[in-house]
Structure formats: structure tokens, C-alpha cells
């Protein structure tokens, strides 16, 4: 079993209203050094496959998990399951 950790973020250049709200809140809280914030999604998949994992994940991301028009993704593969 493998644990796949997928990070999905809005592409740079795409307006991220949620990230902007987070940045403004942090600024108001007394963190003026925060000049930008992006909010994304994190997914964890438990994958029971031995080979072709990269191809499978790419396909999952392209077909459903990320929208290529507005989102980028990256992932890591770790052996074993995460509790």
C-alpha cells in the first residue's frame, strides 16, 4: 500500500480570493510581513498498486482531481499507510 499526498493549487496568475482574504486577515492580526497567500487543497489517497503509480495519479488528477484550466498539482508517494 502507498500513500499519495496531492497538493492542488490555483495557477499563478489566477485570482485567489480566498488567499487574498487570508492575507488581509493576517495583516490585520499584526503580520504586515505577509505579502501574499494562496489557498489550495490537500488530498491523501491510499493506493494499492505496485506499478504505474505515476501514470495512475496523473490520470486521476487530469480527469477529476484538478481542473487544468485553473489549477496545478504536485504529489508525493510514500510507502505504507498514514494513520
Amino acid at each position: 500500500m502507498n500513500t499519495v499526498k496531492i497538493f492542488i493549487t490555483l495557477k499563478h496568475g489566477v485570482l485567489d480570493p480566498q488567499g487574498k482574504a487570508v492575507q488581509e486577515s493576517l495583516n490585520k492580526l499584526g503580520f504586515p510581513e505577509v505579502k501574499g497567500a494562496r489557498v489550495g487543497k490537500y488530498m491523501e489517497l491510499q493506493l494499492d498498486s505496485q506499478e504505474d503509480i505515476d501514470r495512475q495519479i496523473e490520470e486521476m488528477c487530469a480527469k477529476l482531481l484538478a481542473n487544468p484550466v485553473i489549477e496545478d498539482y504536485q504529489y508525493t508517494i510514500e510507502e505504507g499507510t498514514v494513520q
Partner: protein, 227 residues
């Protein structure tokens, strides 16, 4: 003319759509559950607003993967008129029937009010009953109606006159003030505002009715008049 109103788990404007066609327009409509749907025998497909699959993952993304969408794609390629409103528009984007994607509204708020739109292209089968540049009033009700596409796609949409409706006072941050676009073939229209909620004066506006009338007129001219 017979309209199919596709019902996904979470659709909540399906009955508004049904009412608009059946009662305001006086044509035939049928609510079609997405799972056991057979789209043969229909003349047009309506994808209603709502929250298909609870907007899980992204609005319209999971509905776009359902079996009915492959049937809808087939019908689209055959030239059948297909209208997606609000979540229906999001499903059309996620399924690739229309270009672009939806982001959350610029101010992150769910918005529900009447908006003024300009009919940018009245040379489509959905808008022929409107005047060119006519200003109409339709309700909006969405949290993710901020239409996005890259510059190349936007230039393409402009060049092909695919931008059908624009907001007068862009409420959600959409590029090019886009409220509704059509595919190149001219038979698939997606829009965020709700024409089906504006088909009788008692609803605050009857400006949406002309859209449905345009579809019927086009269909009659194409399939009935010639017979």
C-alpha cells in the same frame, strides 16, 4: 417541443426550469433523473442550477463525470440545443462542452439578487427574440460564478462572438464581464444568471422567457415549418 430537465442529486432549480417550460412557455418538459436517463425523444436538454453532488471537489466536477454527460456530449455533437444555467453552466465547463472554469466570487460572498445583463449576441438560437445590446434583468444566485479563461480563450470567444451575455455591473469578477457563453457550433449555451426564474412579471421580471421562446422558434423553423 419536448425539453429534458436533467436532475442530479443536489439540483434545486429543476422545478423552476420545469415550470418555465411547462407553464410559462407552454411546451412539454420532463424531469429526468441522471442515473436512468434515456435522452432519445427529447428536442432540447436543460441543465438546471443547484449544487450537484453538494459541489464536492469543485462545482459541477463530479456531475460532469456521470454517465448522462456522455449522452449529453453525443446530443451536443448532433446539434441539439443544450442550456446550462448556474450549476448547469459549471457542469458544461467541467465536462469540456464549453471552455473556461469557475472561481469563487471575487468578494467570496454568495450573491442572490437581480442583475442587469446586456445581450451581446442576438444571432443565436437562444437569443433571437432579444434585440442586439438589449438590457435585460435576470436574478443571479451563486457563490462560484467568477468565470475565468486565459487570454487566448478570451480572444477566441470574442472573435467568434461566443460571448452571449455580459454583466452591466460585473458582480463576481468574471473576465470580460462574461455572464454567458455559447459553443462554436452555437447549440450549447451556459450562463450564470437564471432565465427560468424570470419568466413571469410576478417573479420580478419576465425577461428570461424570450430565451426559451427563441429556442422554440428556432426549432419550429428548423423542423416543423419545412415539413
Amino acid at each position: 417541443m419536448k425539453f429534458a430537465v436533467i436532475v442530479f442529486p443536489g439540483s434545486n432549480c429543476d422545478r423552476d426550469m420545469y415550470h418555465a417550460v411547462q407553464d410559462s412557455l407552454g411546451e412539454e418538459a420532463e424531469l429526468v433523473w441522471y442515473e436512468d436517463a434515456d435522452l432519445s425523444g427529447f428536442d432540447a436538454i436543460l441543465l438546471p442550477g443547484g449544487f450537484s453532488y453538494g459541489d464536492y471537489l469543485r462545482s459541477g466536477a463530479i456531475a460532469a463525470m456521470s454517465n448522462i454527460v456522455s449522452q449529453i456530449k453525443q446530443k451536443a455533437s448532433e446539434g441539439m440545443p443544450i442550456l446550462g444555467v448556474c450549476n448547469g453552466f459549471q457542469v458544461l465547463l467541467e465536462s469540456g462542452l464549453l471552455p473556461g472554469a469557475m472561481l469563487r466570487n471575487k468578494k467570496l460572498k454568495f450573491m442572490c439578487h437581480q442583475e442587469e445583463l446586456v445581450v451581446e449576441n442576438n444571432q443565436t438560437q437562444f437569443t433571437s427574440s432579444y434585440e442586439e445590446k438589449e438590457t435585460i434583468s435576470l436574478p443571479i444566485a451563486h457563490g462560484e460564478g467568477n468565470y475565468f479563461c486565459d487570454k487566448e480563450v478570451l480572444a477566441d470567444l470574442e472573435a467568434n462572438r461566443q460571448i452571449v451575455f455580459r454583466y452591466g455591473d460585473n458582480p463576481n469578477g468574471s473576465v470580460g464581464d462574461i455572464a454567458g457563453i455559447i459553443n462554436k457550433q452555437g447549440n450549447v449555451l451556459g450562463m450564470m444568471p437564471h432565465p427560468e426564474r424570470a419568466t413571469e412579471a410576478v417573479l420580478g421580471s419576465a425577461d428570461g422567457l424570450k430565451l426559451f421562446k427563441s429556442v422554440v422558434n428556432h426549432w419550429r423553423e428548423a423542423y416543423v415549418a419545412g415539413v
